[in-house]
Each structure stands twice: as structure tokens, then as C-alpha cells.
């Protein structure tokens, strides 16, 4: 399988995540979209690491997985706070801050 195919998949994942971030409104889904973007980048890393036969990319992928886990943990904690305040399912309703207030 050529390297380009893996890179294409990674790009598709990344773009899907980015698009989802723009059109979806549920904060939990947004968090998942961000994860999709991260995984897209990570897949590119692993593929390139194979292509270049270098270990540094694999190490990087491990680090990214760990960071992503930490990010999700804190993200979920904050989401719980958001939902606890008011059962808000839509980021457009999270609007206490801004020019109008």
C-alpha cells in the first residue's frame, strides 16, 4: 500500500474533524471532532515514520495519544460543569460572555 493512501486517509480524517467542528453544535460531538483531527495528524505521523523508517515519529505518536487522553479527560470534566450549570446541549446557548452582556 503506498504511503500516499495513508496520508490521504489522514487528511480526510483531519478535514472531517474540522468540518464537524464548524457545523455540529453539541459540545460532546465537538470534542469528538477535535479527537478526529488529532487522530488524522497522528496517522500521518505513523505513516510517515514507516515511510522514512525513523523511530522518532512513533515516539511522537505515543506522546500525542497520551496528550489526547489528558485533553479528553479535562474536556469531559469541563463538559460536566457546563451541563451541571444548565442542561445545555448546544454550544450556541453557552453565551454569557460577549459584547452584548
Amino acid at each position: 500500500m503506498p504511503l500516499a493512501a495513508y496520508l490521504l486517509v489522514s487528511l480526510v480524517l483531519f478535514v472531517l474533524g474540522g468540518l464537524g467542528l464548524m457545523i455540529r453544535r453539541n459540545p460532546l460531538v465537538l470534542l469528538m471532532c477535535v479527537e478526529l483531527m488529532w487522530n488524522g495528524a497522528n496517522l500521518a505521523f505513523v505513516a510517515l515514520g514507516r515511510g522514512l523508517e525513523a523511530m522518532s515519529a512513533h515516539v511522537f505518536a505515543f506522546v500525542v495519544i497520551t496528550v489526547a487522553a489528558a485533553e479528553v479527560a479535562i474536556g469531559l470534566a469541563i463538559l460536566v460543569l457546563v451541563f451541571r450549570g444548565k442542561a445545555r446541549q448546544d454550544v450556541d446557548e453557552v453565551n454569557l460572555l460577549g459584547e452584548r452582556g
Binding site: 505515543f62 487522553a69 479528553v72 479527560a73
Partner: protein, 118 residues
């Protein structure tokens, strides 16, 4: 290269076709007599209560978080275990420090009474 996958492809097709054909024959032959009791989800003979999609208590989420830390730690342990002999004492001490830092997190969770089931 591609030809090697031909067998796999044929096998996959046959597998899918087998399941589809068997199910199709079954649905043609068997008698159809649905009623409420029969359609209910099977829960070991008990009458099902409530919705299948229940909300989990938020307290599971905290456990998930604590689990996550030690879950992700494993991906560092595996590569470490592979090269441990070459790393020698240095590698061992390094990993002990790493685990020690994670234990601080566990101590934190314990003192904050996260581990207590209320």
C-alpha cells in the same frame, strides 16, 4: 501483490453471500406470528423494566478518568519493557519515577474521596 488478495476477496464474498442466503431462506420458510411478549427484549425471563438507554451515573465518569490515566500509562510501559535489558538500572529508575508521578495522582484522587463509593 494484488492477486494475493483475490482469494481473500472471494472468501469475503462467499461468507457474506452464505449468511444472506441462509437468512433469506429462513425468513421465507418460517411462520410469522409476532405478539407483544415475544417482541420484548429477553432478560432471563424477567419482564423488562424501563428504557434500554439509561443514563449512567456521573460517578462512573470519575472512575473512568482514574482508569484512563493508568490505561494510557501502558503504552509507555510496553516499549520500555522491550528494551529494559539494554537500558539497565537507569531505565528502571526512570520508569519508577514515572510511575511515582502517576501514584501522586492516585493519592490525590484517594484523598479527595474520589475512590469512595457513596
Amino acid at each position: 501483490m494484488v492477486i494475493n488478495y483475490l482469494e481473500v476477496g472471494i472468501f469475503a464474498l462467499v461468507a457474506v453471500a452464505f449468511v444472506a442466503i441462509t437468512l433469506a431462506i429462513g425468513s421465507l420458510l418460517r411462520p410469522k406470528n409476532p405478539y407483544a411478549n415475544k417482541l420484548a427484549p429477553y432478560e432471563c425471563g424477567e419482564i423488562p423494566v424501563g428504557d434500554g438507554q439509561v443514563r449512567f451515573h456521573i460517578r462512573y465518569y470519575i472512575f473512568a478518568l482514574v482508569f484512563l490515566v493508568f490505561d494510557v500509562e501502558i503504552i509507555f510501559l510496553y516499549p520500555w519493557a522491550v528494551v529494559l535489558e539494554q537500558l539497565g538500572l537507569f531505565g528502571l529508575v526512570e520508569m519508577l519515577i514515572f510511575l511515582g508521578l502517576l501514584v501522586v495522582g492516585l493519592v490525590y484522587a484517594w484523598r479527595k474521596k474520589v475512590l469512595r463509593w457513596v
